[in-house]
Subunit: 671 residues, 2 copies
């Protein structure tokens, strides 16, 4: 029997004594878990004093690159984890969701970091706020890493994914993690952590691991720390009421019980594609991971007139499910994580009550009493509105059927879950499904609404995705995990900075209007490493004539009356006479600011936030003020992205058009 | 003596009995406050059943228009409120901050709603997430109003602003408010609420008012409700530990104690402008509202070598402050809100300890013992690191001086506040002030960093602004009020919706790629009211020739080598030969999609998110697929804004450029 070790302050160490962990399939004792004697204070100090400063010294892109390398490292050899996962009751397919899904979360957050964050340490949030008329006093929200630790307490069901989906956003944020796995599957998480640590990819202390109790660690947390929890609502409640949260301002987030619903829309009769898709999804949700998913469908809400058909179809499908040895290739449903868990689920089934529609099966190749096996169990509520299925969560292969007559009634039934992670809506009629989606949205973090056109590509009711929020209000814990950058923010602090344009530029690394500009020669002749934000070109002038407008109109075919017809233009509510095409102004502006010879600027790949502020009438003398606004190096690519603040102004300095020009600029000496 | 009435379920009603409220200046009993016998259950039900659905039926712009009208209504006659405010101890200038600032928050949120939100009921958050390769299954975050009540418990110090800065974002969100004023100044808030209700501008039940205890109301809140609190950390702790929050998932937000710091940077010696600006700001923060501001400077952190000069300058300025009758025009500092409050402040001063540098003054025209008057009080910490000024908040005209030697030491001292609403940094050296700003950012919701160039226009250390976050981590409560839309989100639920393109279009009102397109003739001939999202134009083709490129280059002056020189273009890492100008492609595209005759489309006022996906080589046949993506009516303007999804594709359907074209389109029958 192995003792699961903790990894603290750079050292692997086993706690003394330990809680026994049993194989879910055979009932054998296979590991022990304890943090007794593990120096939790050292873990906290190491994270805050050593890892935090090191992580904050890396840019978002540096951190993203590490996440990518880690994700790839985990995917190089997954077999050991698959095999180990069978002992938790997981089938091969369950294990793939956990292991490949976990590595996928690292890769996804790497991509999100590289695409959506700058290659800097400060994240600029939203626009500059002009706080004074003269522009000398501005505001800008910035987002910086909290100077604390992310203590992450995970659930037993996804020992790999559960850890990595919290670790990835914290790491990208620049905050070190201390991971506490659930005891029943801690031995799987330990192997993942060892692989990560052995890869040598992480800055020291950015990931620590404590198997066993972390009560002593929670006592050390303060307002710069974050505590994230996945598990039961009861434990979430204890943590939310802990002095760390109530007195010391620890930021707390939970992802807890969730009585997720799936709704069959009225128009989805037994003859529709959506009916069959719905039945398949329910069976899948009941059996995948033996129903031990926080997102699993617990409440099956169907129109009264289709209820008989749904029940019949579900029973027919459930009869064919192969339950048994998770390592056997044909097994569709393995074991629950342990005998205690099975007792809890059986007890919850009794409490939910209603009619037992289906609750037996054959167990293939296993002793169903030594292992934690259980038949898929379908219940029918005798009274939908008062069913305890809205309140009690059997965390296993269990769902309850209930019926509704009107759309409003269905919305009300769904809402009785008092906040869930996810709901599904199946139906062929967009009017019905869109109304249902909007009606139940305030009660959910995610709504999965499917018809025949989207079903084939759907990732499924039960799958949280890195891009989309995972979390829900109320009973579901009120947290927001994943959702791209939304969860990264959870580990950071948003701060409004007020000051002069130069101060904001110094703080954010982004040039803002009114800050110092520098003329170092044409900025298109400067390589990425030579360019500084604030480097500026003030071009010579060019007069836009009526001939130019005529010429441009016939050349491009844009004969809009406001350019062509003095009288008609005057009659419009906008213009005082013929006006230059906006695209003509843009094109002429490029003619003014471009540097013709080969040089560092490789291409102009886009334009953002173009606004034509004032019409440009014939005879206007335009010039362009062109300023390096933001630089973000594409490490290893030989170039960086440079954003230029671009203002086309007239002879009196009035802004005619403003926009950001986006360019790729070569490095002089690529690293 | 008047009984402050509550406004519940459409009726004004006085509670029985009541807590006495005294005039801050004379000590006379002037009002009583009680909610005994007020039907709090009716308030909750009325908000949820009547007001919520009505509010959710309005668009963001509808709600913004109401906020604007309300703000204007409040500003038409402020004299009564100014006079009443004197009884709370407020000077004319204190009252203006409260009253005009409160109305200003309504106007600001009106502007934010009209500018940053659509004229719709669903708020689309972030980009469409492509969840399948074929584009048939997508994700989109939406934000919808929670189906509950916003219970807002306010502090005594700003009876008008404090209420309105919470009400405005909740109303814009579409959530009804129940306001509980602090007892000592409830009689001022009552007048404001009467003005609002009497204006008849609000949908029934969207603002209710309960003077006195709301304990019974908190017992009714559940996971769709929001509880916002401003006041002491002790009360915030009680609320955060309430069963409503712990067990029932009520979303809780607090803005509590905050030991705000102001830091003088090392380079800001006595001969600098910043030194004088700093001293002025400290005196202002100590005396405005008699120091009863959650944002007031409590800790004055200065370089050891300038400490003597700072102390001397502060004392000199404090000597000149006129303290006394708040209704007298020369008075710079009025009274605390009451004798109990003064006792608390005196007690806190004793607990903070240190040296009393300044604590006496003459009280002009008042009896300083009958009224709650107190001298500005400057303390000096004997040991900065261990001072209780980091822990105890005297909520009155009190600040403590402390010293540092290095920048890091200053950052550490600031952090000892364990989370504050705001800190100020004053100094002439951007290197110092930017480093300090970033160093302390994780401990603050706002950092106000000033030098001589920004001081004149600064809105001041103590002023929360609607555009910027007001709130702070840790001791400051962990909330985020104001900050534009950031606080509106607090009253809403974010939900990831997954489904087909058509489903997302039906839910959001925004056309997404892959959804049904409709050809109803050229869409530029359709008026705003006739246009539907999905209306589409697929233009005829046009070949872009080398002649076109030559011609455009010489016409615009854009002779970038990649357009002009085959060999040089080939040598670049991007292009395979001479390539068309991006601006040429744009211009030709406009020539293809524009409708020349006068009609509903008034102007193309901008372009968003332009990306050149593939280079356009000579000989390419381009066409444009142009689709109505989003409509937002400018009510009363006679037109609406229409956003068009624009894709320039080649003969094989490859996307060359994609962007959004922004137009103003006239209504056929303006309302």
């Amino acid at each position: 029997m192995r003792a699961v070790e903790s990894f603290v302050a750079g050292t692997w160490v086993a706690g003394s004594g330990g809680q026994p962990v049993h194989d879910a399939v055979t009932g054998e004792m296979i590991a022990s878990v304890s943090s007794d004697g593990v120096d939790l204070g050292a873990a906290h100090a190491f994270a805050r004093d050593i890892a935090g400063p090191a992580l904050r010294g890396l840019t978002f892109h540096d951190r993203a690159a590490i996440l990518r390398a880690l994700g790839k490292a985990l995917l190089t050899d997954t077999d050991e984890l698959y095999v180990l996962s069978h002992s938790t009751g997981a089938t091969r397919s369950d294990a793939a969701i956990d292991v490949d899904g976990g590595a996928g979360a690292l890769l996804a957050y790497s991509g999100i970091g590289r695409r959506e964050l700058p290659n800097h340490t400060v994240w600029v949030d939203g626009d500059v706020e002009k706080l004074s008329r003269d522009g000398s006093f501005l505001g800008q929200h910035i987002i910086t890493p909290r100077h604390g630790v992310a203590l992450q307490i995970n659930a037993f069901n996804f020992p790999t994914w559960g850890m990595l989906e919290k670790f990835a956003p914290a790491f990208l944020a620049g905050v070190p993690s201390i991971v506490k796995p659930a005891t029943p599957t801690a031995y799987v998480t330990e192997v993942v952590v060892r692989t990560i640590i052995d890869s040598g990819l992480l800055p020291e202390g950015s990931l620590q691991f404590v198997a066993g109790s972390v009560a002593g660690l929670i006592d050390l947390l303060d307002e710069q720390d974050t505590l994230s929890f996945t598990g039961s609502a009861a434990t979430a409640r204890v943590l939310r009421g802990h002095a760390a949260v109530l007195d010391r301002g620890v930021r707390f987030s939970a992802e807890a019980d969730s009585l997720n619903a799936a709704v069959l829309a009225p128009a989805a009769g037994p003859d529709t594609d959506e009916f069959g898709l719905f039945v398949d999804e329910i069976v899948n949700e009941m059996t995948a991971k033996a129903g031990q998913k926080c997102t699993a469908v617990r409440r099956v809400i169907v129109p009264t007139r289709h209820a008989g058909a749904v029940e019949e179809a579900l029973v027919e499908r459930l009869r064919t499910v192969t339950v048994g040895d998770p390592s056997a290739p044909d097994t569709e449903m393995g074991a629950l994580v342990g005998l205690g868990q099975r007792d809890d689920v059986r007890d919850a089934v009794d409490r939910v009550g209603g009619v037992r529609v289906f609750d037996t099966c054959e167990f293939v190749g296993v002793d169903p009493e030594r292992g934690a096996f259980m038949a898929p169990t379908l219940l029918r509520a005798t009274d939908a509105a008062s069913s305890l299925a809205h309140v009690v969560e059997p965390f296993g292969p269990v769902a309850t059927l209930m019926t509704y007559d009107t759309l409003d009634e269905a919305v009300d039934l769904v809402a009785k879950g008092r906040g869930s992670l996810v709901a599904s809506v199946y139906g062929p009629d967009l009017g019905e499904t869109a109304a249902m989606t909007i009606g139940i949205a305030p009660h959910h973090g995610r709504v999965h609404t499917i018809d025949a056109s989207s079903a084939a590509a759907s990732t499924g009711h039960g799958s949280p995705l890195p891009q989309l929020v995972h979390g829900g209000p109320g009973r579901a814990g009120g947290g927001e995990e994943l959702g791209g950058l939304r969860s990264v923010l959870h580990y950071m602090q948003r701060t409004a900075v007020q000051g002069s344009p130069d101060l904001l530029t110094a703080v954010t690394g982004t040039w803002v209007d009114g800050a110092v500009r520098r003329d170092k020669g044409h900025p298109f002749t400067l390589y990425f490493d030579e360019l500084e934000v604030g480097d500026c070109l003030d071009t010579g002038p060019r007069v836009i004539t009526l001939d130019d407008i005529e010429h441009f109109a016939h050349f491009t075919g844009d004969l809009f009356y406001a350019h062509m017809d003095e009288e008609a233009a005057r009659a419009s509510p906008i213009f005082e006479g013929r006006v230059a095409h906006g695209y003509l102004v843009l094109s002429m502006a490029a003619g003014l600011f471009v540097w013709p010879d080969p040089g560092p600027v490789l291409a102009n790949y886009g334009v953002d936030n173009l606004r034509f502020a004032t019409p440009t009438y014939p005879g206007t003398e335009i010039r362009v003020i062109f300023t390096c606004k933001e630089k973000s190096l594409r490490a290893g690519a030989g170039y960086g992205e440079v954003r230029w603040d671009t203002k086309v102004v007239d002879q009196d300095g009035n802004v005619l058009a403003s926009y950001d020009v986006l360019t790729m600029v070569a490095e002089k000496e690529p690293a």
